[in-house]
Subunit: 414 residues, 2 copies
């Protein structure tokens, strides 16, 4: 393959514990091929960094710090929630991307994100082609939500799942310690897909799982919920419930919407949270007992200290594979995972056309959720348990995590 | 010393990550001396288990499971919030304790808890003496709050501090990732003492500490707080605030009291929580930006997966020392820690009269808090950093923690 010019990598969407592990894979692989890539750039704040010519020369970073990316949560280059306009309505951003790519001789664009980002990738790739600008565009998946289509699972999910399962075990021990009845409601992220809430059931394998769990895949019936909680409460006096922030009643309402307004973000998605609080308040109207509401909040997506080693290594491999795929001259694909067999677990990198993953959402199969909608079936355990395996050997200082410290040498705005 | 009869151990108060490490120390040491202790009992739900003759024969447990207590959070025997009556008003419970101790030939009573529990210990000890019943009563300290008098620090604090510092680092990375301004308010436990909130500042040593922190030791001035947040916001656009649930305004009000009622527990302590939420709402009235409120909730006191190894081992040693102290015929003391030197760190077990720790509270020294009340001084780092050191080598199954599984062979209610 002829000299493909420079490479730019950008991170988008919500942080995960391992998004930087993919960055480490991309940087390591790309920098190992100076004969192929002239410069390796990292865009500041995702696509915004490209539009604003704000990006860093990764070749000037200390390789040891790049390795530390594997244990550094969130997005080292910064992220964005910027949504490209519909090209038919406004093509300004697309022309700006083309201009920047031309100016900086960028012919390889790797974008790390979820389904919104794959859509962005796809649109940019189509536009560049329409302008006869040669550029390999590769998506690197990332989302704790695990909701990308076709791929067996997503980088970020295994680590979030391990955090959730471990934390639910610990909370269970705490919440059931007193000789006093208590209902504990734990709110877990997940806008439309219940993968993260499902992960709480992995705690049950160890004996400390939630008594009840509720996923957005199932219509949330408030009366059934109250009945479920009452039944367990009467039997055990201590109830641990895990609920997805995204559960909706039969009329399509989110729980916080039952008690007030909900904001929306730049993508038009509803900003959630407050589900456990509202449910706790409703339960309190029916059962007079101690009720505690807990949100796993940002912790569930940035707990690199409790990452799944398998997730870290697969995310790293996805980054490397993205670079290799570009070097093969391929484009318009997202790197995905296939699982040729489950026991023992095997994972293979596959290439999925961007158009097949853009703006789609993979939900938890109905058959993996128990018939009454408040527990998980064995199929889910078989699927998820391999994904949370392994504890990364963390480099610590003062017994605290040592995050990568980059120099961020500005290479844009020349 | 003559045969001291049987030993009973009970756990009280709020859970910690290492309270069971002290239990492991007590059980291991007591069971190693069958010539001294006839039976080793564990009371179910603290003092309530004694009153209700509900306790377990620990000698029948698998020793390997007792070792696993060192990585099992919360209180394996269960806890209670039961408050003994004032003996002048009602001595029923005290006579019941005496009756049970006589019935089961119990002459050694070890109680694991915070200052309320040391008060309970002290009252029972005095009563038993007044009845000429020989019993060695030893307190084993435990509290994430670190507020027990005289002892240099408390078992449970180091682990909670390590969890808080690590988690604040991770949240900091997540909360500052976007090119969008954001104010993140993290609420940390601590009714009257700010030790736990102070621990968030340890994250700053690694470069990811809160911009501002507020302890209950300092009067909380709402105007100053808003000014502080505004100042940092104008400079950085992203602000991370850590605030103790126990901060009070100059008229003695807790933050949640500014917007509604606050419940009280069996000890008459106000049930806190909601501080970050109320402060977030107030900040939102002054600064129009994205605001996120996070409660570290129960996770900060039960995160055994992120325990400080030093805390685990010191807690274990405190349990062993309590047994040895009873074997020496001593009584009416709590095992405490002294620090002969800080660098390198040394810790010695000491015995502190129960009456000196009962119902007292040790606060963060004013000199360790910065003059403007929103940061910590070097003295605090020098004090706290040694306490969070070391990662316990956890035994995992399925990459999830393996908690101790006891048989709980009932030995009371005969």
């Amino acid at each position: 393959m002829s000299h493909p010019g420079n490479l730019i990598f950008a991170q988008s969407g919500g942080p995960t514990a391992v998004i930087n592990s993919s960055a480490a894979g991309v940087f390591t692989e790309a920098l190992a091929h100076p004969e192929t890539f002239g410069k390796v750039y990292g865009a500041h704040h995702g696509i915004v960094g490209i539009l604003e010519e704000d990006f860093f020369d990764i070749g000037q970073e200390d390789p040891a710090e790049l390795v530390l990316l594997k244990q550094t949560p969130s997005s080292i280059l910064g992220s964005c929630r910027y949504k490209l306009a519909n090209i038919e309505e406004d093509d300004t951003d697309y022309h700006k991307v083309l201009e920047v790519f031309k100016k900086y001789d960028i012919h390889t664009f790797l974008y790390n994100g979820g389904n919104d980002s794959m859509d962005t990738c796809n649109k940019i790739s189509k536009f560049l082609k329409s302008q006869n600008f040669e550029c390999r565009v590769i998506g690197v998946p990332k989302t704790i939500d695990n909701d990308l289509a076709i791929t067996d699972h997503c980088p970020g999910y295994g680590s979030a799942a391990r955090y959730i399962a471990t934390t639910v075990m610990e909370i269970y021990k705490d919440a059931t310690v007193y000789n006093i009845p208590q209902i504990t409601i734990i709110e877990i992220m997940g806008r439309n897909a219940g993968w993260l809430t499902a992960a709480s059931s992995l705690a049950a394998v160890m004996g400390y799982g939630p008594d009840l769990l509720y996923l957005p895949e199932h219509v949330f019936d408030l009366d059934e919920f109250i009945d479920d909680v009452k039944r367990v409460y009467e039997k055990k006096k201590q109830v641990v419930v895990c609920v997805s922030e995204g559960v909706r009643t039969s009329d399509g309402k989110l729980i916080p919407e039952m008690r007030g307004a909900v904001r929306t973000d730049a993508f038009g998605h509803k900003q959630l949270g407050g589900t456990a609080e509202v449910l706790g308040s409703i339960v309190g109207d029916h059962i007079s007992t101690k009720i505690r509401n807990i949100e796993l909040s940002l912790m569930q997506r940035c707990a690199a200290h409790l990452a799944s080693e398998r997730d870290v290594e697969e995310s790293f491999a996805a980054g490397k594979t993205a670079v290799k795929t570009a070097m093969n001259g391929e484009s318009d694909v997202m790197i995905g995972f296939a699982r040729p067999q489950s026991d023992p677990y095997q994972c293979e990198m596959v290439k999925i056309p961007l158009c097949e993953v853009a703006n789609t959402e993979k939900k938890v199969p109905e058959a993996w959720i128990s018939h009454d909608g408040n527990n998980m079936e064995q199929d889910y355990f078989d699927y998820a348990m391999p994904l949370i395996q392994g504890s990364p050997k963390l480099i610590l200082e003062n017994s605290l995590p040592r995050f990568a410290q980059l120099k961020f040498v500005q290479a844009g705005r020349a």
